[in-house]
Structure formats: structure tokens, C-alpha cells
């Protein structure tokens, strides 16, 4: 524990400096992250307007609120480990990472968080534009906020563990782009990005509620917006925690084999 | 006979921004852009006849590559005139580009992941080489450059020397009349350098193609060119037979000798260039070098002794010094 307290600030400093340097490409990358929720916002708002009544309990203003919060939550939980693993292995950088007396995941975490800190500043104008343009209905109670914070923290860790584990596939094949694409596709549908779970067809919604993807993004969003009752929130937390435990176990397991394979195949 | 390359008072200047380090400089540069002018080529005049092999010699940044780029149409001159095969190169007319070729050392035009022969095919299509002629060319070049086993290999699997051979072959498929070679032997090992030079000589003898070659290796120029143009700071300092250049300006040798122990006065052997403890560098004339060497070996306890040609910069500096104001 003490070692982490020593190492993390140093890693953070490096991460911050690097990310400030790459701010231009970071901002542009964010554009993509921002545009997708906006697109679905518009799509569902049009559907709601055309129907004249709410869709799955959402009207246009509700959708606006949902997607605006989704933007923030997605930004706070996303990672790029799957892409960076590909590069690391291609460029042979993994060798020096493995030589360090520190699990590579820590550097990834600090880089990730420092990037988000830097990028939050760029996000604010985008959020302002969305707020003004789409007039979301937002009413957040303090209890919701507190619960959401917890859900967000768990979501961040869950997503990180999940994507880190999937990223490890790069040790076994170079065709990770296909695997990644499959993952992103599942995430898009089942995490609440294409539509809030309540709007999805019933069967799909049920499946989504038991899989981890929803708990990475959609769940914290709905908690914050006060769309879930206390029982639902409690159950959600349990599922979240369970998946987090599973993902953490997966990392530990797969990492050991991955490192062994890397050494066997040749650095 | 009309010259193949006719250059008159060619000038090339660039305006480059001046960038200084530090935050203040970065901020002021937003408001006021400081620039300075780089005179890469200043008033060069020369002519090259058909079938000549001509070497442009000079240290890095002398203006050799800039001159070559102007002759291949890659750069517009700031002033002056140049014609190659009667064309103005920077008009980049197809009829012109089909008759010349450019090879740049350490830069590849071959496609990395596929067999060499497929890159050749690409060039065949671009240059619209008729199939029968293409076949003949390939066979010729394979024989001359010993490319047999290399043709089917992807470029990435070739060594640097093999890659260079293939690059040159690819550049010659369309039987160009003028070859522009920019530092073609850079980075190659000595034996490959020698083989490439031999090839260029042979190719010139067989086809009568005119060759313009730039290099900062004296050895390249020595092996290939009867005529050399020395360029330094954008100026043409010498244009003539290589033999006379060497005779006039590389008239000295440097003898570096490492002596053990005893005191002695080295100046009686020759001009002392430097002295560092037991390690002394002497400059003597070429004629005197053998005599001085044997004297040193005879009279002193020599631990190490080398006899070297003066470095190219020295030769050129002396050319510059002798060129007058």
C-alpha cells in the first residue's frame, strides 16, 4: 500500500505532462466521444416528438438529460488500453514494461486519469453547447448524487479491468481489431449507448441488465438522474460489485499466462 | 554536341522561420515571425556532356542535393537557368520525367512487403515500358547486379546492400538517359560500395547514360568520376578533372604517431598539427610521406602509426581558400 502512495504521484506527474503535450489530438479524439451521444440524442428525440408521448419513460428533454450525463460518464470511464496493447506488442515495448517491478496496469491507470483531468477542461464547452441546444431536464437529488459517485467509481474500475483483460488477447493473436470490434459492438448495444435500457426491446434489456457492460456506463447515468428506485439501485450495486470481482480475478489469471506466453514467444 | 545538362547562374534561397527555445520566444513568435534567408545555392554555372559521369562533392549542407533537386524538377530555382535534355526540369513534363531517374540513398521507392519483382512491375506500368523491352531490361539488370535470388523476396527481408541494388535496378527499368544519384552509397558497407561503383561505371560504359552523382565520400568520386564539381556553401569551387583536384589540394598527408617515452622534437619531421602527450599529428607533403614515415619508424620507439589523407573538409576548405575572394 505504501508503495502505491509513493509511486502513484510520480506516475501522475508524468501522465499529466504527457497529456498536456498531446492536447490537440486528445481534443479531437474527444470529438468522436461527444458526437455519438449527440447523434442518438437527436434520433430518440425525433422518435419521441413524432410519437407525441414518452418512449420507455423518456421524452425529448429526458433523452437530452440522459445523453448529456452519458457523455460525461462515458468520458470518465472509457479506456484505450485495448488499442495501446496492440501497439505495445507490435513495437516490442512490453519487454521494458515487464522488467519493471510494478504491474503495468498502474501506469495505465495514472495515464488514463491524468488524461481525463486534462480533457475535462475541453469537455466543458461541449457540454455547455449541448445543454443550450437540447434543453435537458435535469433534477438531481443529493442522495442520487452520492449513490452515483459510488456507482461511477465502481464503473470505472469495472470497465478498466474488463478492457484490460480483453486487451491481453493481444498476446495470443495480432488480429485484435476483430475482437475489439466485437467488444465495442456489444458495449454499444448493451451499455445504454444506443438507447437507455428501458427503451430497448424487453428481452435485450433483460440480457443487458445481467451483463457487465451496462454497469460500466448506463447504470451510473440512470442512478444520477434519479431514474432508479432504491431497490433497483441496491441490486445494481450488487451486480456491479460481482462483475468487478470477476473482472479483477480475470486480470490476475490471464496476466500471468500472458506474461509467460510473451516470454515464451520471445520479447 | 549539345550539352545534356546546361546550368547557368543557378540560385536557390529559402526563407526559414527562426525558432528560439523558451516560452517568451514562443509567445513573441506568435506576434512577429522572424525569418532568415538560407542561400543554399549561389550562382552555379556548369555544363555536362552526354555520357559523362560527374561527381558533386562537398560536405553536408553544401548545396549538392539542392542542385540535384532543381535538375530533377523537385525545386524551383530562385534565379538562373537550367536545362536538362533541353527541358526545363521544374516544368515536370512527362516527356522529361520519362528520360531521367532519381535514386536517393537510404530512401526507398520499392514497396516494403511484397517481392521486388512486383515493385518492378509497378514501375513498368508507370513508365509505360513495353513488355518485351521490360523483360530484356530486367534480365540485363539481374545479370549486371546479381539480383537473381533477390527478385522473389519481399523488400523487408533484404539486407541494406541488397535493397540498394534493387532500388537502383528499379530506377533503371525505363532506360533513362540521365541518372541522378543522391548519396547512393551512404550507409553501405565498403564492399557493397565498391560493387555499386563498379556497376555504375559498367552501366555508363554500356549505355552511354549521363550520370550526376552527389556524395560526401571522396572514395565514391575517386572511383567513378573523371570530372568533379566541388560545392561548398552553395558555391562551385572547382570544376575539372579529379586528378588535378587531388594533385592540387590533397597534396598533404597526415601522419599520426604514438611514441613511447623519450623527448624529441617532432618539428624536424614535418609540420606539427597537434601534440597530446605521446600522440603527435604531423602534416607532410605527399612526396615526403614515405620518407618521413620510415624515418619515424627508424629513429623513434613507435607504438602506433597511421598515414591518412586529409579529411574532405580540409581539402575543400583549401579549395575555398585558393578560390579567392
Amino acid at each position: 500500500m505504501k508503495r502505491f502512495l509513493e509511486v502513484y504521484p510520480a506516475l501522475f506527474r508524468v501522465g499529466l505532462r504527457e497529456n498536456i503535450q498531446y492536447r490537440a489530438s486528445g481534443v479531437i479524439w474527444m470529438l468522436g466521444l461527444i458526437l455519438e451521444p449527440v447523434i442518438f440524442l437527436v434520433v430518440w428525440s425525433r422518435v419521441a416528438d413524432a410519437r407525441g408521448d414518452a418512449v420507455g419513460g423518456f421524452d425529448a428533454a429526458d433523452f437530452a438529460a440522459y445523453y448529456m450525463v452519458l457523455m460525461i460518464v462515458n468520458q470518465l470511464t472509457f479506456t484505450w488500453v485495448m488499442e495501446s496493447f496492440q501497439f505495445r506488442i507490435q513495437l516490442g515495448e512490453f519487454s521494458y514494461l515487464l522488467l519493471r517491478p510494478l504491474h503495468p496496469v498502474h501506469e495505465d491507470i495514472t495515464m488514463n486519469v491524468s488524461f481525463k483531468l486534462v480533457m475535462m477542461i475541453a469537455m466543458l464547452p461541449a457540454l455547455a453547447i449541448v445543454y443550450v441546444a437540447f434543453e435537458p431536464r435535469i433534477a438531481i437529488s443529493p442522495t442520487d448524487a452520492a449513490a452515483a459517485l459510488g456507482a461511477l467509481a465502481l464503473a470505472f474500475m469495472l470497465r478498466f479491468c474488463l478492457e484490460w483483460t480483453i486487451a491481453l488477447a493481444a498476446f495470443w493473436t495480432t488480429r485484435v481489431s476483430a475482437i475489439n470490434r466485437l467488444y465495442y459492438s456489444l458495449v454499444t448495444f448493451l451499455s445504454g449507448r444506443v438507447a437507455p435500457l428501458a427503451v430497448l426491446p424487453a428481452a435485450l434489456g433483460t440480457v443487458a441488465a445481467s451483463l457487465p457492460f451496462y454497469y460500466c456506463v448506463g447504470f451510473p447515468v440512470e442512478v444520477l438522474l434519479g431514474r432508479l428506485g432504491p431497490a433497483e439501485i441496491a441490486r445494481g450495486f450488487l451486480v456491479q460489485a460481482a462483475w468487478l470481482a470477476a473482472a479483477a480475478a480475470a486480470i490476475a489469471l490471464v496476466w500471468r499466462r500472458a506474461a509467460r506466453r510473451y516470454a515464451a514467444v520471445g520479447a | 554536341m549539345a550539352p545534356v545538362v546546361d546550368v547557368a547562374h543557378l540560385v536557390k534561397s529559402y526563407v526559414v522561420p527562426v525558432r528560439k527555445a523558451g516560452l517568451r520566444a514562443a509567445l513573441t513568435s506568435l506576434v512577429r515571425r522572424e525569418t532568415r534567408t538560407v542561400d543554399a545555392v549561389r550562382d552555379i554555372t556548369f555544363r555536362v556532356g552526354p555520357g559523362e559521369i560527374v561527381g558533386f562533392l562537398g560536405p553536408n549542407g553544401a548545396g549538392k542535393t539542392t542542385t540535384l533537386k532543381m535538375l530533377t524538377g523537385l525545386l524551383y530555382p530562385t534565379a538562373g537557368e537550367a536545362r536538362v535534355l533541353g527541358f526545363e526540369p521544374w516544368r515536370r513534363q512527362r516527356a522529361y520525367l520519362e528520360r531521367i531517374t532519381l535514386v536517393m540513398g537510404q530512401r526507398n521507392q520499392l514497396v516494403w512487403d511484397i517481392p521486388v519483382i512486383d515493385s518492378f512491375e509497378r514501375n513498368r506500368a508507370i513508365y509505360r515500358i513495353e513488355r518485351a523491352a521490360y523483360r530484356r531490361r530486367v534480365d540485363e539488370l539481374v545479370e549486371l547486379l546479381e539480383l537473381g535470388p533477390l527478385l522473389e523476396k519481399p523488400v523487408r527481408n533484404l539486407s541494406l546492400g541488397e535493397r540498394m541494388k534493387c532500388e537502383i535496378a528499379a530506377a533503371l527499368l525505363h532506360a533513362p538517359e540521365v541518372l541522378f544519384l543522391d548519396e547512393p552509397t551512404i550507409g553501405l558497407d565498403v564492399s557493397m560500395q565498391r560493387r555499386l561503383r563498379a556497376f555504375i561505371r559498367e552501366y555508363n560504359a554500356r549505355t552511354g547514360a549521363t550520370v550526376l552523382l552527389t556524395s560526401h565520400y571522396m572514395a565514391d568520386v575517386e572511383a567513378l568520376c573523371r570530372r568533379v564539381l566541388v560545392i561548398h556553401h552553395g558555391r562551385l569551387l572547382f570544376d575539372g578533372e579529379l586528378a588535378s583536384l587531388v594533385r592540387r589540394f590533397a597534396a598533404y598527408k597526415t601522419i599520426a604517431v604514438q611514441v613511447n617515452g623519450k623527448d624529441f622534437d617532432p618539428s624536424r619531421f614535418g609540420e606539427v598539427v597537434s601534440r597530446d602527450g605521446g600522440r603527435i599529428a604531423l602534416r607532410v607533403t605527399k612526396e615526403d610521406a614515405p620518407r618521413v614515415t620510415s624515418e619515424l619508424l627508424r629513429e623513434l620507439e613507435v607504438a602506433d602509426l597511421t598515414v591518412e589523407d586529409p579529411p574532405i573538409d580540409e581539402v575543400i576548405d583549401s579549395v575555398f581558400a585558393n578560390a579567392g575572394p
Binding site: 489530438s25 449527440v38 437527436v42 434520433v43 418512449v55 476483430a178 | 524538377g73 524551383y76 520525367l97 508507370i126
Partner: protein, 262 residues
């Protein structure tokens, strides 16, 4: 002309040769493309569980739109983007000099020099989707609409290509052009849905700043049989103008690269 087609064929062949060294890429790309297509169709399906029409577009019309989107994306990823991205790299490394000493039009060479052949799968899937969508409206699709669609499609591709040439040409002035290209990719995503459904300001952006509307929505409108004559004429005019402008801009950039005095 014949020479240009010859060159394009040569580079396609090179693209295949390049890839045959990595056969597994074919299957990886196939999986990717199918998954992407599945996601797209899935999203549309979910929307249409809740409504019959989205901003006036029915399911088969939206499918047609998605087909056009994939076709343009496929073309971009097949040859335009990889070639121009390589060009931008070559400006920095100096390898562009080789391209410029070749006796072929530099803009042509630079536009076709790199072919990612497996993106043909994307293209093929787009065509399949388009055909399915067209068949669903088989009765309503007249010769006029089909012709308008082909013209609109050609104009759309020409507009996107010219746009990319202009962006790539900026590499002669600015080193970090890749960032600008990223903006295009991010914005192009919006073309998955009809541009008409977006609020005015976004629609303006997608028509004027990044030509997504002309690339995707306009041809899809033609297929849906509701493209106005004025819009079609506008597309043709814009395509011609952009082709001319991009050509002029390219030559300007080239002159600058070669240090020609203004």
C-alpha cells in the same frame, strides 16, 4: 484515360499482393465488417421497435441510407484515406520526391498509391444493404430515381474525394494534418442518420463544413425517390466546383513544396 486506369489497376494489384502476405487479415476484416454491419442494422431495428418513421424516413429508406454510408466509407477506407495518409507521411520523410519524379500525374499517384484491399468487403456489404433496401421499394423505384441516385452517388464520392484532397494538401503547409483528418472521421459518423433530422446548426455543419450531407443523405434521398431537382443540380455543381478547386489547390501546394516563388 487509359493510363490512369492502368495505374489504378497496378496499385490495386499491389494492394492484393501486399495483403496476400497476411491472409488472416481477410478473415479478421470480414468479421469486423459483419459485426459493424450487424451493429448498424441492430441500431436501426431498435429505433423502429418504437416508431414507424424517423424524421420522415421509413425503415427501408434508412437501410438504404446506411448502405450508402457504408459504400462511401468503404471507398474511403479502401483507397482514398490510406493513399492520402501515406502521402502526408511522405511529405515529412521526403519520400514524396520519388512520387514527383515519376512521369505520371502526381495527384493521381498520390490518390491511389495505397490500397487496403480487404475494405472491399465493406464496400460489398454496403452494396448488399443498398440492393436489399432498393428491392424493398422495388415497386416505387422508377428509372428516374435510379438515375438520380447514380448521379448523386457519383457526385457524393467526388465531393468527399475533393474534400480529402484539400485536407491532404494542407500537409504542404502544416505538419500535423492527421488531426484534421480525425475531425472528418468523427463528423462523418453523423452521416449514419439522415442529416435532415439534426437541428439546424448541426445540419449546416454537416452540409457546408464537412460534406456529409452530400456524401450520404443526398444519394439516399434520391434512392428514396424524394430528391428535389434543385438539390441534385446543386450536388452536381458542388462536385464540379470542388473537383476544380481541389485540383487548383493541389497544384498550389505542389508549387509551394517545390519552392516556387508566389
Amino acid at each position: 484515360m487509359r493510363y490512369a486506369l492502368d495505374l489504378i489497376a497496378v496499385y490495386f494489384r499491389l494492394g492484393f499482393l501486399n495483403e496476400s502476405a497476411y491472409r488472416a487479415n481477410f478473415f479478421a476484416q470480414a468479421v469486423e465488417s459483419v459485426v459493424t454491419l450487424g451493429t448498424a442494422i441492430g441500431a436501426i431495428a431498435i429505433v423502429f421497435t418504437q416508431t414507424d418513421s424517423l424524421a420522415g424516413w421509413g425503415p427501408s429508406e434508412l437501410l438504404g441510407l446506411r448502405g450508402v454510408y457504408f459504400i462511401v466509407l468503404g471507398l474511403l477506407n479502401l483507397v482514398i484515406a490510406p493513399s492520402l495518409e501515406k502521402f502526408i507521411e511522405n511529405v515529412v520523410t521526403g519520400n514524396l520526391d520519388y512520387t514527383l519524379t515519376k512521369p505520371a500525374d502526381s495527384q493521381l499517384l498520390v490518390s491511389v498509391q495505397q490500397v487496403q484491399v480487404w475494405k472491399l468487403i465493406d464496400l460489398a456489404l454496403g452494396v448488399v444493404v443498398l440492393v436489399v433496401a432498393a428491392f424493398q421499394r422495388a415497386g416505387d423505384l422508377g428509372i428516374g430515381a435510379a438515375a438520380a441516385f447514380l448521379v448523386a452517388m457519383l457526385c457524393g464520392v467526388a465531393i468527399v474525394y475533393s474534400f480529402w484532397i484539400v485536407l491532404a494538401t494542407l500537409a504542404f503547409w502544416f505538419v500535423r494534418v492527421e488531426n484534421i483528418l480525425q475531425i472528418f472521421w468523427a463528423t462523418y459518423m453523423a452521416g449514419r442518420w439522415p442529416v435532415g433530422m439534426y437541428p439546424d446548426w448541426l445540419r449546416l455543419l454537416l452540409t457546408v463544413v464537412v460534406p456529409v450531407a452530400f456524401a450520404v443523405t443526398v444519394p439516399a434521398e434520391a434512392l428514396a425517390g424524394r430528391l428535389s431537382g434543385e438539390t441534385l443540380l446543386g450536388a452536381i455543381a458542388l462536385a464540379a466546383a470542388l473537383l476544380a478547386f481541389s485540383r487548383w489547390f493541389w497544384r498550389l501546394g505542389l508549387r509551394r513544396y517545390s519552392g516556387a516563388s508566389a
